[in-house]
Symmetry: C3
């Protein structure tokens, strides 16, 4: 076997393992920011979501996303990754039905596994926003819809050779494909569910503190760690200059966003709120995800600084809009997913790692690249929001999506699972 195939496969798999590990991070962040009485439910959701994504993406998602087809969806090799394929052959030597991803010279199952962990991430983003009131069964079914339809369709547009790819839109590691998709689907869920009981009573915004900020912090560390798989791994090849550059832009954006979010929350709230610091980190990471390979380290610093400010303002805005998002998923993934996608159109430079994106607005490229990015932002918003809203609406009509008032007050753990998370501890569950 050719050496390049070996090292590329190692890189793709190892970074995919790191991205897989982000599931733990999401579970820890979400449960840490939620109340103890809903912890079993949250852990269950975050655990099952990757299993459901794995099966859904295997059965249909992969084929819809990467199968040769139209500008809209894949049509060949749809089911069970079953199409013709002679990977790891690349370029003209490639013979098969998954042409759009034939640029990376690794075995088919390596491609599948790497793409699967990304699909799982998009699905798990929804979990946090709908926490503490969603029915378990409704969430599981929604996850299958995400992994089998919503995610792969948009994925086809951007990474599967569809119309946005053809238009010259670039999303290196998924600010749009993963984070915006997750964010728009989450927004639809938040609207359909309504806020948690007590959150906006009598015109006041009530802070509902998380039960374990240690857990939330550890979870954010895990996500930061996993992002070193997410972004550098998206090269899908062990290209030394690219992977080293992406590791540094990723980390620099996170560091800058941590600082700016901490300072802004200190100024606006009077104290450096830990939740804002953590969400600042995630905001920086989400924002740099699309542009990480196309922008300089200096630009990544600027992008991170802005992302950290955006997330604090967004958290406040969503509360004013009475959109109850227990973990700040909308502020992190939706707002900064959109912001990061636009950043490509502003900060990209052809010279960075050799991908010919064209220069962004700030580097003399005019509005061409920026226009493609904005087209993606708008079209993904419309498609995902509508598709998700429809899915939630159908689920609401057929099986219901929200637990009963009594169950919500007592906690979903007993009601949905018959378990409690912290047996033996004195936990106050009322309210």
């Amino acid at each position: 076997m050719e050496t390049k195939v070996i090292v590329d496969t190692m890189w793709v798999l190892i970074t995919a393992f790191l991205v897989f590990f982000m599931n733990l991070g999401f579970a820890a962040v979400e449960s840490g920011f939620a109340r103890a009485k809903n912890c079993v439910n949250i852990m269950s959701k975050n655990f099952v979501v990757f299993a459901a994504s794995s099966l859904g993406f295997l059965f249909l998602g992969w084929g819809l996303m990467f199968g040769d087809g139209t500008w809209l969806v894949g049509l060949k090799g749809l089911f069970f990754v079953g199409g013709a394929d002679n990977s790891p052959a690349v370029g003209e030597a490639y013979k098969g039905v998954y042409s759009a991803i034939s640029w990376t010279g690794v075995p088919l199952w390596a491609k599948f596994f790497f793409q699967l962990v990304f699909c799982g991430t998009a699905a798990t983003i929804v979990s946090g926003a709908v926490a503490e009131r969603i029915k378990y069964i409704a969430f599981i079914i929604f996850t299958f819809v995400m992994a089998m339809f919503i995610y792969p369709v948009v994925g086809h547009w951007v990474w599967g050779g569809g119309w946005l790819a053809k238009m010259g839109m670039f999303d290196f590691a998924g600010s749009t494909v993963v984070h915006s998709i997750g964010g728009w689907a989450a927004l639809a869920g938040v609207i359909m569910l309504g806020p948690r009981i007590g959150k906006y009573d009598n015109g006041h915004i009530k802070a509902i503190p998380g039960h374990n900020l240690s857990l939330a912090t550890l979870g954010t560390f895990v996500l930061w760690f996993g992002w070193f798989g997410f972004n550098p791994g998206s090269t899908m090849a062990a290209d030394p200059n690219a992977i080293a550059h992406v590791a540094v832009t990723t980390n620099t954006a996170a560091a800058a966003a941590i600082m700016s979010a901490t300072i802004v929350s200190w100024l606006l709230l009077g104290k450096p709120d830990l939740g804002m610091t953590l969400n600042g980190c995630l905001a920086g990471l989400v924002a740099i995800t699309a542009p990480c390979a196309f922008v300089s380290v200096g630009s990544s610093l600027v992008i991170g600084l802005i992302a950290g400010v955006l997330v604090v303002l967004a958290v406040m805005m969503f509360d004013r809009l009475r959109l109850d998002d227990p973990v700040g998923a909308l502020s992190v993934h939706l707002v900064n997913g959109v912001f990061g996608t636009i950043c490509v159109g502003l900060f990209a430079q052809d010279k960075i790692t050799g991908t010919a994106t064209g220069n962004g607005l700030f580097y003399g490229g005019g509005f061409k690249l920026l226009g493609a990015q904005l087209a993606a932002v708008i079209s993904v918003a419309v498609f995902v929001f509508v598709a998700a809203l429809a899915t939630w609406a159908i689920l609401k009509a057929v099986i219901g999506i929200r637990v009963s008032r009594e169950e919500e007050l007592r906690g979903l753990d007993i009601g949905e699972h018959g378990n409690e998370a912290y047996a033996g501890f004195q936990v106050f569950t009322t309210e």
Copy 2:
């Protein structure tokens, strides 16, 4: 240095690090499923077990397992990995006393380290089943016996060129060598110790809920993550097709087992029990461990689905048998270790990754391979169970293996360690 040696060594070490990390997963799962009052003891056991395994396997275990010798045990280069060896030479070029593992072209210490983390895993499996009542010193001594004798002897049979290897038995990553060994040794411990106080009083089975299901969930995520080292790493070479294939079969079995265990527990218990979901995941992973490189992705789906059902039924069965296993280690590692070993004889196909196992029963291979697998199941059961039972019996006679009734009621943390795990929290320790 030849490129192949470099990439293979990187692969072996990185995957070994992931397997090492599973120690954290086991610690989290076991303590999460146990009560707060025994948490320091459980953490201590899970922490020291890898230290003891490291020293025991270094002193003697490695030599007994991989030293050239008889059909039963290794005899050459027994102590301190001290035999002649010219690794990374392979095949005919290899000159040394560890011939059985000379097929992998990596330095001797890389081989040792990879095998060590597997040995440590087998030893740590015992920990969960004997939790909440075992004396700390007894567990430490038992661990040395596992790492220096019981594990290496069976390991020699299967992976060290012993009689099962010669018979044509295959265990790719250790459903038998790691999980069944751990499981049988655990069963012996459970029998010798008896159930926890109150577990089966007055003919009732009393559920003793774990003190932290968040922790148990995170631990299971870590184990799932670590399994991507465990199974794909067992190639001990960066073979692109094999490692990609194994990553996908491993994940698919886990996903399928999560789903089937969740659904079955939902049907049988009325609600989707989180503990069952988590143990379903582990069951799928254990079951696919032996066959992961020999079976198709479709077969891995079937194996996972069955494993998830088996683990739920096994948990109920062991409770009926009054075998008190606080974390479900027997249901996960023993039952599914045996099941996974048998699956090789049923689902294996020569064509999958190039290892000539012969086809399994379902693919026209008849009973030849299945027979060898069953021989392994039975012989390992007899040897490990008897050896472990004898070891526990001697320990019981000489130093005692169970803490006093008073200590068990109050918690092992104060009694064994003089620490408490959660100072400052209100924890209910009685019962």
Copy 3:
């Protein structure tokens, strides 16, 4: 791109990711050993410390450490990693201003990122020793001073071509550069801050138990795991023999130290204290960090055994000296950082992995190497301790470094951050 550059870059980045992950470990260990009322503050410190280090090392630290310059500091390419550089060229082919690190053939950003995670580790060591009483803002500013001045200056001496390097001093992975630096800076902080309220009242030493020993244990596992990046990664090249050897010496020292610390605490305290077991592990890891590539596996066993004893005695000694270090950071990082540095002068053998260190005292090398090691120990002690003391003194005079008595009693979480870590739980916060 040359294959060697590819595999070396993969190795450097993947191990750097593991070292990054140690931030989570430090956060978990420190918060686990502290009280619940200070947990948000501790998590905040441990989270922000890496962000601050990232920015400080990017702006100036890297240049001061690796820029060509004098025996004392780097002078070229000081700011924003902005000097001329044609990495991955090595040796004579290298043209640039970062000559001291031109021996490793990876891209500049890979070198930077690997060195950055080490800088972050040194900074985070301080956090534990000053916990439960330090002002958040003072800690953040101190971190910038560490990352931009103190760490890079000593780093230049040892790894940047400065006077200790020229003298023939060797520190493979940073017993001095990372752990002693962190330790001396922590000691200065402990002295300037004074002990926590109640710790040494009325001539008694009061044990202040940690709020979550499960968390502390998981954190130690993470650090152990991360050390497989720290030490084997310090080859900065995928050299099979070296990385396999270092993985085994690292693990063996940890295992031996766990055993000796557990046994010694058992003998001295009557019971096997979990905190001592955990700190034993870390002590062994710190001690083997400098010599891991220069000593045999047998020597690593001896070094670990001694380290485990040292850490228990040191914890007792610091308490007698009324130096209040809530997590044992001085005993682990300072005492064993010094011990490990000296071990190079005692146990090193030229033949181990091919680095011509000269033999240590025990292998016929006389006092030459040992003398250089001792020169490093003393000079680093003087420089770092004085520089850190001066920094703390200035901070104390200008903004204050200790929270008010009321805030300390109530907990820093409310006072500094306006958050509480465990909302909904009954936590006893007084004292």
